[in-house]
């Protein structure tokens, strides 16, 4: 990597940072400091704006870098991520978006707590939301780190560390000064940039192959050294039954996890009505679907043009396949075109990471302040002070994510996101669906279903090969691996649903029919929605 790359990429990235900081200052000039404004941006975004912002929140570095990297290395098996990430939106669209918009105010816990005894439910849902957010943040931080490693030649650990810290510091600035309004505009800008970058690269890949997708696939298969097997499932997950189960587990986690992601749920509160929430999801499905179709082209393109060996040589997990592809498409490392394209892609990926990180930080600070702090301190905190707590929480969440991000540096980003999805699907989705659709659901059921999903998911991750017992583990030296699968979803998601069921059945408290009626009427009609 020459100095030109670095300078140009850093320059472009600085421009993005300057623009977003400008947005942050601009939107916060008339700040009232109300909770409504901080968490929900005043609820006045249009469906199209929110659709872009949702897409911006969702199309993380994991998608752009991680999925394309997995496809470049393992061919078809990487494509499962694309499919799962997209199909998941049907769960959101059908079962969650409108109803959550109608029932809640700021967080997931609002929806559940409306029907239940407030305090235990808020603490449970708040805890799981923060956990999911932190896991997701770690993935983004790892993405930032590996991008910088590529940019600076991969040797400088200090630079990598400082990038992760710098990204963390910037996001704290965005979130605590700009709140949801600034975060949303940053997502929108980023979504436009990311779509633009992906479209440009896709077109270049297709032009390289004269628009012949078939030719692209054949070249990728040849170049990969696996031949036809590269285009069929099984390269990464096809070995023994453990890895096949892992694949199914991952698939479940992806499709069910999205609807439980706190930063996605909080986006629905930024539009005025449920109808607007639905239309924003339709927008985002269009954008996200288009984007994932392009990641498929980019992934196979990277395999065909760059070659899996070069990709693996740069980053073992494949996270740098797309920047390398850009370099090649522009004309190679020594050409101006290559330098420019590489710099643009690297800057976009940075911007992506920054924006997603800001979105998640905001959502988790809302959970900390609105759910945990408000419940644990019984004195009714005024909205003003709750926002102050949220700002402080943003800093705390940032610090934790930075620390874990430095620790988890060598894991594939898409894989880490898969973990976050598994936890979201196990801990958040069951309680959400039960609250919205089950008449007899009780407080105990709610609390049990959160912890009954959260605890097994986390414990299984700790006992999995990800953490110990293998050469690629976090702690390769230790061995306390008792659970064979990388992704806990297959076990922990059913456990979450089961725990909610058991908790409700064994509950001594009678289900509150009036509250159920209120939730159901509000969910489907929007009566009394804020």
């Amino acid at each position: 990597m020459t100095g030109n790359h670095q300078t140009l990429a850093l320059l472009l990235f600085s421009v993005f940072v300057a623009i977003t900081l400008g947005i942050t200052t601009w939107v916060s000039r008339h700040r009232h400091g109300s909770a409504e404004e901080f968490y929900a941006g005043g609820r006045l975004f249009s469906p199209m704006e929110n659709g872009f912002a949702i897409a911006g929140d969702y199309m993380s570095a994991a998608s752009f870098l991680g999925i394309s990297g997995l496809i470049a290395l393992f061919g078809y098996d990487g494509l499962l991520y694309s499919v799962g990430f997209l199909v998941a939106w049907l769960v959101v669209l059908f079962l969650v978006a409108e109803l959550v918009r109608n029932c809640g105010r700021f967080t997931l816990a609002d929806v559940v707590a409306a029907r239940m005894s407030e305090r235990p439910v808020r603490i449970a849902a708040g805890t799981s939301s923060v956990t999911v957010s932190v896991l997701y943040l770690v993935a983004q931080m790892v993405g930032a780190g590996s991008l910088v490693a590529l940019l600076l030649g991969g040797t400088s650990e200090a630079a990598q560390t400082w990038t992760v810290i710098g990204v963390g510091a910037l996001m704290v600035v965005y979130v605590s000064f700009g709140g949801m309004r600034a975060t949303t505009w940053i997502q929108i800008v980023k979504a436009v940039l990311l779509m633009g970058g992906a479209i440009a690269l896709t077109v270049l890949v297709l032009v390289r192959f004269h628009g012949d997708f078939d030719q692209l696939l054949r070249t990728a298969a040849e170049r990969s050294g696996h031949g036809k097997a590269f285009l069929a499932p099984g390269l990464k997950y096809g070995g023994d039954w453990t890895s096949r189960l892992d694949f199914i587990s991952l698939g479940l986690a992806l499709v069910l996890g999205t609807a439980g992601l706190p930063h996605i749920l909080s986006r629905f509160y930024t539009v005025p009505t449920a109808r607007a929430a639905r239309r924003s999801v339709v927008w985002s499905i269009g954008l996200i679907g288009g984007f994932y179709l392009m990641t498929i082209v980019l992934g196979f393109g990277a395999a065909a043009i760059v070659g899996p060996d070069a990709v693996r040589g740069s980053n073992a997990a494949g996270n740098t396949a797309v920047p390398l592809l850009a370099l090649d498409l522009g004309g190679g490392a020594s050409s101006t075109g290559g330098t420019v394209l590489f710099a643009i892609v690297a800057a976009i990926a940075f911007a992506t990471i920054l924006a997603v990180v800001a979105g998640i930080t905001l959502a988790s600070s809302a959970s900390v302040a609105h759910d945990l702090y408000a419940s644990l301190r019984r004195r009714h905190a005024k909205p003003r002070s709750e926002v102050a707590v949220a700002r402080a929480a943003a800093v705390g969440v940032g610090v934790v994510a930075i620390a874990l991000g430095l620790l988890a540096r060598d894991l594939n980003v898409a894989f880490l996101v898969g973990l976050a999805f598994a936890v979201a699907a196990s801990a958040n989705l069951p309680v959400l669906l039960y609250s919205l659709f089950w008449r007899n659901f009780t407080t105990r059921g709610a609390v049990w279903s959160v912890y009954g999903g959260l605890v097994p998911a986390l414990v299984l991750v700790v006992l999995s090969p990800v953490v110990s017992g293998g050469p690629g583990s976090l702690f390769p030296g230790a061995d306390f691996q008792y659970f064979p699968l990388d992704n806990p979803g297959l076990v922990s998601i059913p456990l979450g649903f089961l725990a909610g069921l058991l908790g409700t059945i064994t509950s001594t408290e009678a289900p509150d029919e009036a509250k159920h009626a209120e939730t159901e009427v509000r969910a489907l009609t929007g009566a009394g929605a804020v």
């Binding site: 078809y76 499962l80 036809k228 285009l231 069929a232 499932p233």
Partner: protein, 162 residues
């Protein structure tokens, strides 16, 4: 709130609702056929006002108009979720258990797996379109009417209490 000219939105207006349900009283069967039992005093010591506000929601929940909205929602969503989820799980399970089948070529380098994967994209787009259309034509108007009615009632209960 535009585009409300599907075949049956008018229907909603006709058997609309709400006053009908009031007139017929609310001790009768609800839409599911279960006797709509008298409301259990949900929270023992609730003050009168919020108890009556809660009654509003129970009342609305039992009204024919609401039941219609709810069943329209469910009639679309339940089968749709069943179909797309089965299709997705079938895709994932086939990919893991029958890679040989998935590797069978269709056209050139494109194999069954690739067709199925792109098929998932296509069905997702189709489902999204169908759901948005269904909600726009069959639910939005009726839900909005119910929303205003409910809020009106809640307000009058709250107002009457003072």
């Amino acid at each position: 709130m535009e585009k409300h000219d599907g075949p049956d939105p008018g229907q909603v207006r006709i058997d609309d609702p709400w006053y009908d349900a009031l007139a017929s009283g609310w001790g009768e069967l609800d839409g599911t056929g279960a006797p709509a039992s008298a409301v259990p005093p949900a929270r023992g010591e609730q003050d009168d006002l919020s108890a009556r506000a809660a009654d509003v929601y129970l009342e609305v929940q039992r009204s024919a108009a609401f039941q219609e909205v709810r069943s329209r929602y469910r009639r679309f969503v339940v089968p749709a979720v069943a179909v797309f989820f089965t299709w997705y799980v079938a895709y994932v399970v086939t990919a893991t258990t029958a890679p040989a089948f998935m590797a069978r070529p269709v056209v050139g380098a494109v194999n069954v797996a690739m067709v199925a994967g792109l098929g998932q994209f296509l069905t997702t787009f189709l489902f999204t379109w169908a759901y948005a259309r269904h909600a726009r034509l069959r639910r939005d108007r009726a839900a909005l009417d119910l929303r205003w009615d409910t809020q009106e009632l809640t307000r009058s209960v709250a107002g009457g209490g003072r």
